[in-house]
C-alpha cells in the first residue's frame, strides 16, 4: 500500500509550516532514516525523516510552499514492489480514511500514548517512534519524556473522549487530582488544537518558555522540585517565629523554572569591568539633544541600562554562535537578538523581551523599556511579551551592588548581571587614575556557549560599552 507523508507538527501549537526544501526527488529510493524534506516555522527549521522504505512516488506539495496546514498530504511513497505510478496516482486519495486503521492498530497499553494518524505523523523526525510494533527506526531517538514515561493517568471519560476526538493524552496536562487528566482537560486541549498531532517535545524549547517548560508532572504543589519538606523546614523554627505566606502563581513559576535552570543548564560565569566615562558623556549629549513633545517633555531619556541592552543585542549578532539556545538535541541559532530585561515587581519579577535589540535605536529601546516596566508592575504584560529571548539583562546597580551572578532564565542561554557604575581607581599607562567602572558578569549555559565563545561575547559587549559611538551606527 502506498504510504502517505503528511505535514508534521513540530510543536504542540503548530498549525502550519513552510515546506522549505525537498531533499529527495520523485523516483528516489527512500531508506528508513533518510531526510525527506525540511520544514520551517517561524521558530525553527526541522527535518522530516522517513521510517519506511520505498520509492518517493510523488511530491504533492512543492518546495517553497508557505503555510502548509499540519496533517496535509505532502508526498507519497510507494512501498517495496509497488507500482510507483499507480501509487502516485492513487495514494493520496484518502489520507484521512487511512489514518483510522493506523490508529486502531496499537491495542497495547502503549497505544494510549500515540495519536490516531501516527502511521503518518511518524515521518517527522521529531516524533517518537509511534509504537513498538513498527520496526525500530532512526527517528525514534527524540522520544518525548511525557510519552516515554509509561502510564498516563486519565479518567475513563477523558480516555474515551480523547480516543473519539483524536487527542493525544500524552500531550494533555491533567488538572485533576495528582495531575490526572479529566474530561475537561481533553476538551480544552481539543478546543485549543494543541494536541491534535503527536507532540514534539524536542522542539518545545524552541517555543515560548511557557511551552518549553512542560511542568514535570511529579512536581509538588509548590512548584519547586523536592527540597526539604514543609514539615522538615517547620521543624527548624519556633512555631510563632514566622508567618506562612502562600505561593502565588508567579512565585511557583520562578521557583520551578529557575531551579530547573540551575539543575539542567551547566552554568559558568565570566566577569568583566567596563569603563563608563565615554558612555556617560555620550548619554548626556544624547539626552541633551532629545527633542520635546507637545507637553515640553523630552522624547526620550536614555538610561545606562538602555545602552547595556543595545550593547548585548549588537554583541550577540557580532558573535552569532552565542546568539543561540539549547533545544534538547540541537541548538537553535537566531538571526536577530532577543534581549530580555529583568523588571522587579512586588512579589517577583518579569523579564519582558526586547525583540531585535540589535536593530532598534537606543531611543526606541528606551521607550519600549519604559512601557514594559510600567506594564510589568501593573502585571499587564502579555505572555508573548515576556516569553522567548536568547539572553537577559539583570541590573542591580541601583541598589549599589557591585558584582553578582544571575540564574539563566530558560530557554535562554545566558544572562548578564550588571553592577553599579562607580568611580574606581584604575591603572592606565602605569598610572593610577579615576574612572567610572561597571562590573558585569555573564552566566553562560555551557551546552551552548563554551568558555572562549562566552568570552568573545563578553568582550564584544565591553567593546561597545567602552566605545559607545559604535552603538549609534
Amino acid at each position: 500500500m502506498p504510504i502517505n507523508v503528511l505535514m508534521p507538527a513540530l510543536s504542540p501549537t503548530m498549525e502550519k509550516g513552510n515546506l522549505a526544501k525537498w531533499l529527495k526527488k520523485e523516483g528516489d529510493a527512500i531508506k528508513s532514516g533518510d531526510v525527506l524534506a525540511e520544514i520551517e516555522t517561524d521558530k525553527a527549521t526541522m527535518e522530516v525523516e522517513a521510517i519506511d522504505e520505498g520509492v518517493l512516488a510523488k511530491i504533492v506539495v512543492p518546495e517553497g510552499t508557505a503555510d502548509v496546514p499540519v496533517n496535509d498530504l505532502i508526498a507519497i511513497i510507494a512501498g517495496e514492489g509497488e507500482d510507483v505510478s499507480a501509487a502516485a496516482a492513487g495514494g493520496g486519495a484518502a489520507p484521512k480514511a487511512e489514518a483510522k486503521p493506523a490508529a486502531e492498530a496499537p491495542k497495547s497499553d502503549a497505544g494510549q500514548n500515540t495519536t490516531p494518524g501516527d502511521g503518518h505523523m511518524s515521518y517527522a523526525r521529531v516524533n517518537e517512534a509511534p509504537d513498538a510494533a513498527k520496526p525500530a527506526a532512526g527517528g525514534g531517538q527524540a522520544a518525548a519524556p511525557a510519552s516515554s514515561g509509561g502510564r498516563v493517568f486519565a479518567s475513563p471519560l477523558a480516555r474515551r473522549i480523547a480516543k473519539q476526538e483524536g487527542v493525544d493524552l500524552a500531550a494533555v496536562q491533567g488538572s485533576g487530582p495528582h495531575g490526572r487528566i479529566i474530561a475537561r482537560d481533553v476538551q480544552e486541549a481539543k478546543a485549543s488544537g494543541a494536541t491534535k498531532a503527536a507532540p514534539a517535545p524536542a522542539h518545545q524549547a524552541a517555543e515560548t518558555p511557557k511551552a518549553a517548560a512542560p511542568a514535570p508532572k511529579a512536581a509538588p504543589a509548590g512548584g519547586a522540585p523536592a527540597g526539604l519538606s514543609l514539615d522538615q523546614v517547620r521543624g527548624f523554627y519556633q512555631k510563632d517565629a514566622y508567618e506562612e505566606v502562600p505561593l502565588d502563581g508567579m512565585r511557583k513559576t520562578i521557583a520551578k523554572r529557575l531551579t530547573e535552570a540551575m539543575q539542567v543548564a551547566p552554568h559558568f560565569y565570566l566577569t568583566v569591568d567596563c569603563e563608563l566615562d565615554a558612555l556617560m558623556k555620550l548619554r548626556e549629549t544624547l539626552n541633551g539633544s532629545a527633542g520635546k513633545d507637545r507637553d515640553g517633555k523630552p522624547l526620550f531619556k536614555l538610561s545606562v541600562n538602555d545602552f547595556v541592552i543595545k550593547a548585548m543585542g549588537l554583541a550577540l549578532t557580532r558573535v552569532p554562535a552565542a546568539n543561540a539556545v539549547w533545544a534538547e538535541d540541537r541548538i537553535l541559532r537566531f538571526k536577530h537578538a532577543e534581549v530580555g530585561v529583568a523588571v522587579a515587581i512586588d512579589g517577583g519579577l518579569f523579564t519582558p523581551v526586547i525583540r531585535r535589540a540589535d536593530e532598534k535605536t537606543l531611543s526606541a529601546i528606551s521607550n519600549e523599556m519604559k512601557d514594559f516596566a510600567a506594564r510589568a508592575r501593573a502585571k499587564k504584560l502579555k505572555p508573548e511579551e515576556y516569553q522567548g529571548g536568547v539572553t537577559s539583562v539583570s541590573n542591580l546597580g541601583m541598589f549599589g551592588i557591585k558584582h553578582f551572578t544571575a540564574v539563566i532564565n530558560p530557554p535562554q542561554s545566558s544572562i548578564l548581571a550588571v553592577g553599579a557604575g562607580e568611580k574606581r581607581v584604575v591603572v592606565k599607562d602605569g598610572q593610577p587614575t579615576v574612572a567610572q567602572v561597571m562590573t558585569c558578569t555573564l552566566s553562560c549555559d555551557h551546552r551552548v556557549l563554551d568558555g572562549a565563545l562566552g568570552a568573545e561575547l563578553v568582550s564584544a559587549f565591553k567593546g561597545l560599552i567602552e566605545n559607545p559611538m559604535g552603538m549609534l551606527v
Binding site: 479518567s155 475513563p156 471519560l157 477523558a158 474515551r160 474530561a183 504543589a221
Partner: protein, 479 residues
C-alpha cells in the same frame, strides 16, 4: 484591640463551621461568629430535626402496617410533644457537638451580630464589629461583642425563608419551617405552599401523622428540580396516601379566621377555589442573608439577593469571601461545606478548582424518598445530548421485596456518544443513601463500562444501580 485572626468566618452554619475547622487545620488562626446557634439552620431548624420528625413518622407508619410483616401492634398512637422533644434533643446534641469540634480545633467562637467595617489592605487587616444579640444565649467560652480584625473575612450567613407579600408568616397560622418543626399539636388540616424539598417533607410528615394535606405548586410539576418521570411517580404515591396536590396553581389571597386560614387558589385554567386549613406552611424558597453586613459600603457585588463569587469563594472585594447559601444556589448544606473548604484551601494557596455544581446531589426525605444528581432527562436533551436512559424498578430487586418496599425506580442517563454519566434519579426506600454511588462515579468520570464492571453486593438495594446502568445498554437481567 484583640489579636488579628487569619480567618474570620461570619455564620456558624454547616458551611461556616466546617470552613472554620478546615481553616484551623490548615494552620490559620480562626474565629467564627454567630448570633443564634452553632450548626445554623441545618442542624437546628432544617436538615437534622426534620429527619428526626420524619423518622418518627416512618416508624409510626410501619407500626400502623405491622401486620404486613406478621406483627401486631394495637392502639398505635403518638404524642406530638414527645416527637418534637426528640427532634429538639437530636438538634441539641449535634449543636453541642459542633461546639466541641470548634473547641478541639482551637477555633474562637464570637457571639453576636457581625458587620464588616473594612477588608484587609496591605498590612492592615480587615475589621469586623460584633454587636450584642438578644436572640440566644452565648455558648460557654464564646467571646462577646467588640471589634475584631482579620486578614480574610468569609461570609457564611446562610439564607432565610422567602416571604410572599400578603402571605407573610405570622408564626401562629402561617408557618415557616421554624414553626412547622415544633408544633404544639398536630394540625387536623394543612395547606403547604411550595413543593420543593421543604414543602414536600412537611407534607409527607403531617400526612403520615394524620393531617388532611393540600400542596399548592406554582409550576406544572411538584418537586420542580427533579426529573419529570420521578416527580410524576412521587405525585401518584402522594395522592394515593391522600395528599391533595394542585400544580400550576397560585395562592392569591389568604384570609385568617379564628381557627383556620382560607386561601384563594387560582388554577392554571384561571378558575379560583377556596381551601381552608388549620395551618398554612409557606415553603416557597429561601433568600440569602445579605443585610446589615456592611456589603453596600464595601461595594460587594450581589445578584438576586446572593453574593457573587468566582467559584473559589472570592467576592469582587479582595479579602472578602462568601460561601454557602448566601453565595447562591443550590442552597444545600453539603454544597456550603464543600464551598467553604475550597475557599480556605484557595486562601492557603492549595490547588483548588471551583466546584462543579452539576455534580451536587439532592435528597428529599419524604415517603417515598427521592434522590438525584446531574441532569434530568429533559435537561440533557435540552442541552443537545443524545441520551441513553436505563430504568430499573424496585419490584425487580430481591432486597426491596424483602423490605416490603416494592415501589420505586432508579433511572440512569448517559450520553450516548461518550458514555458520560449525565444524571441519575431515584424514588423509593432508602434512595437518599444510594445516590452517592452515582455521585462518586460521576466525579471520577466513570463511563457505563466501569459501572458495568463494578461488582455490587447481593442482596442490596444498590444492585438496582447496576441493573439500571445495564438497562441503558440493553443488558438488564432482572426485568
Amino acid at each position: 484591640m484583640s489579636d488579628t485572626y487569619d480567618i474570620l468566618v461570619i455564620g456558624a452554619g454547616p458551611g461556616g463551621y466546617v470552613t472554620a475547622i478546615r481553616a484551623a487545620q490548615l494552620g490559620f488562626k480562626t474565629a467564627v461568629v454567630d448570633r443564634e446557634h452553632l450548626g445554623g439552620i441545618c442542624l437546628n431548624w432544617g436538615c437534622i430535626p426534620t429527619k428526626a420528625l420524619l423518622r418518627s413518622a416512618e416508624i409510626y407508619h410501619y407500626m400502623q402496617h405491622a401486620s404486613d410483616y406478621g406483627l401486631s401492634a394495637k392502639e398505635v398512637s403518638f404524642d406530638a410533644a414527645a416527637i418534637v422533644k426528640r427532634s429538639r434533643g437530636v438538634s441539641g446534641r449535634l449543636n453541642g457537638g459542633v461546639g466541641m469540634l470548634l473547641k478541639k480545633n482551637k477555633v474562637d467562637v464570637i457571639w453576636g451580630e457581625a458587620t464588616v467595617e473594612s477588608v484587609a489592605k496591605g498590612n492592615e487587616p480587615g475589621k469586623v464589629t460584633v454587636k450584642e444579640t438578644k436572640r440566644a444565649e452565648a455558648p460557654k467560652g464564646a467571646k462577646g461583642a467588640g471589634s475584631y480584625s482579620a486578614k480574610h473575612i468569609i461570609l457564611a450567613t446562610g439564607a432565610r425563608p422567602r416571604a410572599i407579600p400578603g402571605i407573610e408568616p405570622d408564626k401562629k397560622q402561617i408557618w415557616t419551617y421554624y414553626e412547622a418543626m415544633v408544633p404544639e399539636a398536630m394540625p387536623k388540616s394543612l395547606l403547604v405552599m411550595g413543593s420543593g424539598a421543604i414543602g414536600i417533607e412537611f407534607a409527607s410528615f403531617y400526612r403520615t401523622m394524620g393531617a388532611e394535606v393540600t400542596v399548592v405548586e406554582l409550576l406544572p410539576q411538584i418537586l420542580p428540580v427533579e426529573d419529570a418521570e420521578i416527580a410524576g411517580m412521587a405525585r401518584k404515591r402522594f395522592e394515593k396516601q391522600g395528599i391533595k396536590i394542585l400544580t400550576g396553581a397560585k395562592v392569591t389571597k389568604v384570609e385568617k379566621g379564628a381557627n383556620a386560614v382560607t386561601a384563594t387558589i387560582e388554577g392554571s385554567d384561571g378558575k379560583s377555589q377556596q381551601i381552608s386549613a388549620e395551618k398554612l406552611i409557606s415553603a416557597v424558597g429561601v433568600v440569602g442573608n445579605i443585610e446589615n453586613l456592611g456589603l453596600e459600603k464595601l461595594g460587594v457585588k450581589t445578584d438576586r439577593g446572593t453574593i457573587v463569587t468566582d467559584g473559589l469563594g472570592r467576592t469582587n472585594v479582595p479579602g472578602l469571601y462568601a460561601i454557602g447559601d448566601v453565595a447562591g444556589p443550590p442552597m444545600l448544606a453539603h454544597k456550603a461545606e464543600h464551598e467553604g473548604v475550597i475557599c480556605v484551601e484557595t486562601i492557603k494557596g492549595l490547588h483548588t478548582h471551583p466546584m462543579d455544581k452539576g455534580k451536587i446531589p439532592g435528597c428529599t426525605y419524604c415517603h417515598p424518598q427521592i434522590a438525584s444528581v446531574g441532569l434530568t432527562e429533559a435537561k440533557a436533551k435540552e442541552q443537545g445530548f443524545q441520551v441513553k436512559v436505563g430504568r430499573f424498578p424496585f419490584a425487580g430487586n430481591g432486597k426491596a421485596i424483602a423490605l416490603g418496599e416494592p415501589d420505586g425506580l432508579i433511572k440512569t442517563i448517559f450520553d450516548a456518544k461518550t458514555g458520560q454519566l449525565l444524571g441519575a434519579h431515584m424514588i423509593g426506600a432508602e434512595v437518599t443513601e444510594l445516590i452517592q454511588g452515582y455521585v462518586v462515579a460521576m466525579t471520577l468520570e466513570s463511563t457505563e463500562e466501569e459501572l458495568m464492571h463494578t461488582v455490587f453486593p447481593h442482596p442490596t438495594l444498590s444492585e438496582m444501580m447496576h441493573e439500571s446502568v445495564l438497562d441503558a445498554y440493553g443488558k438488564v437481567i432482572h426485568t
